[in-house]
Amino acid sequence: MSEDSINDKWPELKKFPESVEKNFISSLSAMPDALSESQIRDWYQQGISLASQTVRSWESAAHFFAVSPSVLKSMPYSYFEKWMECGEKLCNESPTLASAYFESSPGTMSQLRSRHIEEWASLGDQLYKGTWKSSTLACRFFVLSPILLSQLSFNQLQTFSQFLDKLAHRSYDLALECLNLGEQIFPLVGEDKDAFLSLATALVETGWREVKSFFDSGAKALPRIDPDERIRFLQLAENLVKNGGTNIPGTMLEISQSLAELDQEKHSVVLALSESLLEFEPLAMPDFINSSPMIFEKLTTSQFGKWYEEGVNVIQNNPDAGIAYFKVESAHSENTIEMLSSGIEFDRIKTVMEMYCRGLAGAEIKLSSTEALVEKNIGWVSKNSPTTEGSTVFVPTIVDRYPTKEENFAWFKVVSTHQVAHLEFGSFIFDFNKKSALFDDLRAILEKKQLDAIENSKKSNEILDESSSTTEFSETSQNLEKAWISDMQRFFNLFEDRQLSLDIFTVVESARLDAKVLVEYPGIKTFYLQVQNDSLDDRPDIKELPAREAIVEFMLRVSLQQYEGVSIPLKYKSEIQQIIQIMKRVTLHESLVEDSAEASIRIYAIIASIPNEDIPEEDWEDPSFDDEEDYEDPDEMEQMLMDMGMGMEMELRPEGEEDYETMQEVEYRGDFKPELSQLMNEMRMQQQDQSGGAQGDPLTQDQLKELLENSAELDMQTVQGEIQESSGVFADNLIKEAGTNLPQSPDDNQGKYVHVDEDGGELQPGEPETFVYDEWDFRAEDYKPRWCIVKQKLMQEGDPAYFSSTLNEYSTLVTRIRRQFEMMVPEMLRKERKLSDGEDIDIDDVIENMVDIKAGSSPDEKFYWRRNKVQRDVAVAFLLDTSASTAEAIDEGKGRQDEWDAPDDPVEYMVWLRTRRGQQMRRSYKRIIDVEKESMVLLINALEAIGDVYGIYGFSGYGRENVEYYTVKDLQENFSDKVKRRIDRIAPLHATRMGPAIRHTAHKLNQIDARTKILFLISDGRPQDRGYSREGVEKEYAVHDTKMALDEAKKIGINSFCLTVDKSGHDYLKTMTSDMGYEILDDINDLPERLLVLYRRLTM
């Protein structure tokens, strides 16, 4: 069509910008042929009238023409007219809006029934309120309609737009954001859009500010929930909204997170109970859900139901108690769980079992959970396998494998007993050179043969190839020459297949220990055997294993007392017979860990000569052995050792042989790592040696790394990363764990024993209230004269209310202690005899008097007696460690973090903040110093009852010229409000220089006239300060000075007692307090009570 003819036919087009005409022309040809001339004309007219409406409405017209053909494709002409009409109406209101309408029409119409055209247009229209912001929203609504409709039904779209409309009343921005989020969220909501939308609408009414985060969190929360249960989840949330719940989005996130921690099949259980909980106390519902994962760890589903029901009982009587119950923040709730569950939790039995282990092993053993060990990342990776590394026994956090508590506890005991057996019966004190009790010792011979073989191969290598690099063997030999190799390592170096030898040794040693336990502890025999027997259930099918592995497996079964029903490869029957005899010997009473080693060598020799091949099904049989015969070393032992020494088997290995793979461990025996354990022990010892007087070169980090890489005990695959890398990590962690300070390179340890503060000289006390004291240098065996300055200050004054609130908090204890202390008073009423006047005459003394008269010797006229309040003549000074370390939290696990965001609205924010603060105040963690303070309060309360002279002092300091000494209550001072105020201000300060503080206290006590003088030191750890104890190198210095200070006190008649909460206190306290008393508190929380008990005991 030429331009002219267009101009003729559609003259109005020229009035508008070019694009109108252009779009019209191109669409015209695309309009269906079926349209009549008049219909085309109507269409044209419609466009022109749009374009003519306002200055800028030509744009809408351009859009109108552009989309018309495709719109027409999805509807009959009659509806097309409706569509045009709607467009016109919209354009009347706003051309922009109309543009958006037209633009999104092709997409929308393909998904929308034509009859909904008008309604759809009016949805957009309703959103438009004539303002600029509302226009943006309405336009956006049209633009997104196609996408939304792909997710929502038209009805739902209506609900959504109504929701937007409502929200827009509050905030257009928010409505717009929600509209945009809809695109992401609806696909996630799945089938439950109605519920979601109704919840959203409900939220607008109750807390419209949360709506956006509701969309946000909805997008995160919903995918976590079983798709079938999402609707219930949403309904719960809506219910919460209706019942005045706040922070719905945060709550949704939280509870969805909790649900996500549960297996999906549990969702319906939890949600069903949650729904029924709504009837009683809707606000408890989130707590209930949030607690459920933790509870499901302990309870079965039916037990869970019972726990819930008990909670409902509680909540009906007292809603607050019910909420606490469902949060599991009430004793009742915990006890209910404990009562219902058959499982045994580590935490609940820790104290008892730790003591049990200590009793058995006779060492300062700690009991800890395997999780803690895995976290240390020092080579142990399994969270379920009990184990020990020589000083701590690790057990699983929870045991719930048997139906009853008794059995689970018994399992715990079996496991602990087995682990402790490693320590009790000396698995880790293996000594390469120590004679075994029951075998001819082959270790040294084998080592010699090995060295010879290396020597020879070196020689021949030199002949063959001068330039050849060192072989693998010579590396081993270098290892052997290093002083730094544990005996266990040296032993395993004897074997070519380290894994195989480790497995053999593990089985043999476990068998030895089990035998010992069964003899020594007949009381747990029954269950021990049952656990052994139960372990058989998880064993692999022996017939599937290649020969070597099968034999190791067989050994293991024997060690678990399974003598029947295990098949063995027929052709190795005599070898196996021998192995059994060897193992049997190890279970004899006299056997030592060295016997396990010797047995392992022999068994290894036997197994190493067997190729690790698959055995055909028919070659297996159930063996029967006559166990009469006793094992004797075969004649060819010499040859076998020779072979082993040369590492010959490698070359002899047949084709098709498989690599030896390690056996599957037995759960109750756990993860036995003798090499690593010994290494750690030695590192710890090295640490101690160093501070005493070094012997031998210390192990360097690189050496340690190398040692670790050689070990078969580190399953490097289990740990991500390169072997090189992870052994480095292990090395670092091990060093930390052993508490050693290994030098990076051997030569940076010069000046090791130079005391940091060696330079500088005597100090002069300048200001008043400062005192100067000598310090004992144990290396020089002499005092450093006038070395430390003690600055005495009065403690600042704080709030006296602290005093009474502490007494309130401990009211039961206070009453009890007060009673005990008051009972001391009659005890102190002593009958005083030989008085010239008194309550009554003493018959004995009267007789004596008469006798004296008769006998003619000078009679004693004093024969009255009286119950006299004997002056309790005790003066005691309490010296409190207020060093920085006392700021440590006592129970770090409790410090829970709250995740949700602060609300935006200032008013809500204030409310939120206040409740949060309140919670923190109540829940705030306790520090060591807090317990010290509380103890002082109780102490004062008790001491005031008996009237002893007492003083309370705190000390800390930084450096020798600055030992801070704070008086809380001076010895001569009377108890007053001031003292109460000062207690409140006791706070952690700096370091712990004990010596001068003790000297100063002794000095004070010395000025008091009392028959009994006591210095009571309460501390949280060893003495240390800048220049007083260089950590890791010279802790000794401080300990010795402290000891000397205590000795000095003793010389002037002051008795000392140290009470500390440092678990590792035994090592230095013994030295420090030598003859005097000390006690280590296992639990700092016992401090108040213990302190008083000790005080009573000390002064009676």
């Binding site: 079992m353 058995l360 006779g362 005991k413 009958k831 018959i843 007789i847 004296d852 005991r1097």
Partner: protein, 292 residues
């Protein structure tokens, strides 16, 4: 005279042993005692309760008495040669008169009665002052002149100085365990004695003792000894002192008379050593492991 018992609550035992007391030596204590006795050096026994101190001194007095008799065969009056053992349990009301002696009225007359210490001094026996720290400090001073070369006991009331008979030896016992700071031996006292340290015997010996004393079989005895060892491992963890040999013997006796072992240990050992509930539970578990 009932009032008398009110404060005269001490027990005086004066006896010579006719039968050899059962005693199993643990270390070199017998040689030490013999050597000290030869030189008449006073002794102090340090050690926890129930570890055999009293038994040891009984044993030694018998043993030395027998030797004395043997050596004096020639004189043909072996009966008169003996070594009596005088044990005095100390307590805080113990006065010097209680030790040395006092006049009593007898009709018109006053009669001097020797106190146990005087008797021992005169008879030339071994005087064993049990738990000496319990005694008043002024009482302990009384023994000072007895312990140096003078070997004299001043009897003030009678104005005489008594020289100890040749066989006399002073032995103190002292439990350094959890002592009150108020009660400690004066240095000047402590330094006059040779001290022998006692501790609970090692497992095998203790088993042997328990077996003999309680009359139980070997297995039970060694189980009891093992229990003792394990409980002592818990010292300093809420246990002031470990289970004494004496307690183990008690348990053994109960077992011998038919009480089930776990129960017997529970009542005689566990509840005696601690009040701490969790320590008790731990010990219960140890008992349950050791005994069927």
């Amino acid at each position: 005279m009932t009032t008398k018992t009110l404060y005269k609550s001490y027990i005086i035992e004066e006896y010579q042993l006719d039968e050899e007391p059962y005693y199993v030596p643990v270390g070199d204590e017998i040689e030490l005692f013999e050597a000290a006795y030869r030189e008449r050096l006073p002794l102090i026994f340090k050690g926890p309760t129930g570890c055999g101190k009293t038994r040891f001194v009984e044993y030694m007095s018998y043993k030395l008495g027998v030797e004395l008799r043997k050596n004096s065969k020639r004189t043909d009056d072996s009966d008169s040669v003996n070594l009596p053992l005088v044990t005095i349990a100390c307590h805080e009301d113990l006065t010097s008169s209680d030790l040395v002696g006092r006049y009593l009225l007898e009709g018109d007359q006053t009669v001097w009665i020797d106190g146990p210490l005087t008797r021992a001094v005169k008879a030339g026996g071994i005087c064993y002052l049990d738990e000496v720290v319990e005694a008043r400090k002024d009482t302990t001073v009384l023994i000072h002149p007895l312990t140096d070369h003078r070997r004299m006991l001043p009897v003030e009331k009678r104005g005489e100085l008594l020289e100890a008979a040749d066989g006399f030896l002073l032995v103190l016992s002292y439990n350094p365990g959890y002592q009150s700071a108020l009660k400690d031996l004066k240095h000047s006292t402590r330094q006059r004695f040779v001290s022998i340290e006692f501790d609970y015997p090692p497992l095998e010996i203790e088993a042997q003792i328990v077996q003999h004393e309680a009359g139980v079989d070997e297995k039970t005895a060694s189980q009891l000894a093992k229990l003792g060892e394990k409980i002592r491992n818990l010292k300093e963890h809420g246990l002031g002192e470990g289970a004494s040999t004496r307690l183990l013997i008690y348990a053994g006796k109960l077992i011998a008379s038919g009480i089930p072992p776990r129960r017997a240990c529970q009542v005689s050992v566990n509840w005696a050593v601690t009040d701490d509930h969790s320590v008790q539970q731990s010990i219960t578990e140890i008992i349950a492991s050791i005994f069927e």
